[in-house]
Subunit: 123 residues, 2 copies
DNA sequence: ATATAATATAGAGTGAACTCTATGTCAAGA
DNA sequence: TCTTGACATAGAGTTCACTCTATATTATAT
């Protein structure tokens, strides 16, 4: 099954302009048909979903670009790609820990507010 | 104890330009001395630390600006501020959950790579 | 056959959050 | 006193990740 850019845009929730931008940045390389129109495949779909996940975890376009290059270079880059993902997992891990810590601090601030409000109320 | 902008910049790791930018955006309002130089106080320091925490949890400047306005308006805004923080805590909570989910998916991808590499190696 | 809608490219514009430049002022040390 | 360095403002420039515009081409429905 193949999709036009319009169909693919709806499918991925990504906006036609964004899809062309991603292609320009080398993240995506759909086939073209006779009339030079983009033809996105099922594979492109899976790949875009993965790109979106990487994005959701805060990976910048440049790094996804790097990953895409490795991917395009074939199976010999599997170890490199694994390493890249593992490294990213580590930063993600740290990021989560940091956020949890911040949330705790935020929580005690909220608690402090609760007490202050109480105190002022009964004065 | 008071600090010049240079001292305060080093103390907060924030860059002189950034401090002035924050002030321009209404996040910070240090006193001025006779010669119109900024004089940051201990209170400013505590407040900047809190701003940094909010930033670290992804709160945009506009929202911090709003919080700063409430803060400047005095104790009567304590409930509003608490509500704002509580709302932010919720988004933060969801964000963390999302990141954890993404990390799990990432992990299975890494695992898949490990297996692929293994498979290719012993072929 | 023609009008309309979708697509193509190249490049400009946007918004967030800085970051830097130009130009001017002022305080302190040699 | 003079010079150096930190500070002041206003506004321009940067980076990221889109997002939109202008213009041209192509496919499809009437």
């Amino acid at each position: 099954m193949e999709y036009t850019i319009g169909e693919f845009s709806k499918l991925t929730n990504l906006g036609i302009h964004t899809l062309r931008y991603y292609e320009h940045e080398g993240l995506l390389t759909p086939e073209r048909n006779s009339g030079n129109r983009r033809r996105y495949s099922e594979k492109d779909l899976v790949w875009v979903m993965f790109i979106k996940r990487l994005k959701d975890t805060g990976m910048p376009i440049k790094q996804i670009q790097h990953y895409a290059k490795l991917r395009a270079a074939g199976d010999s880059t599997l170890p490199d790609r694994m390493e890249l993902l593992a490294a990213h997992k580590n930063t993600l891990c740290m990021q989560i820990r940091q956020l949890q810590e911040n949330m705790e601090k935020l929580d005690s601030k909220i608690e402090f507010y609760r007490m202050e409000i109480e105190r002022i109320a009964k004065k």
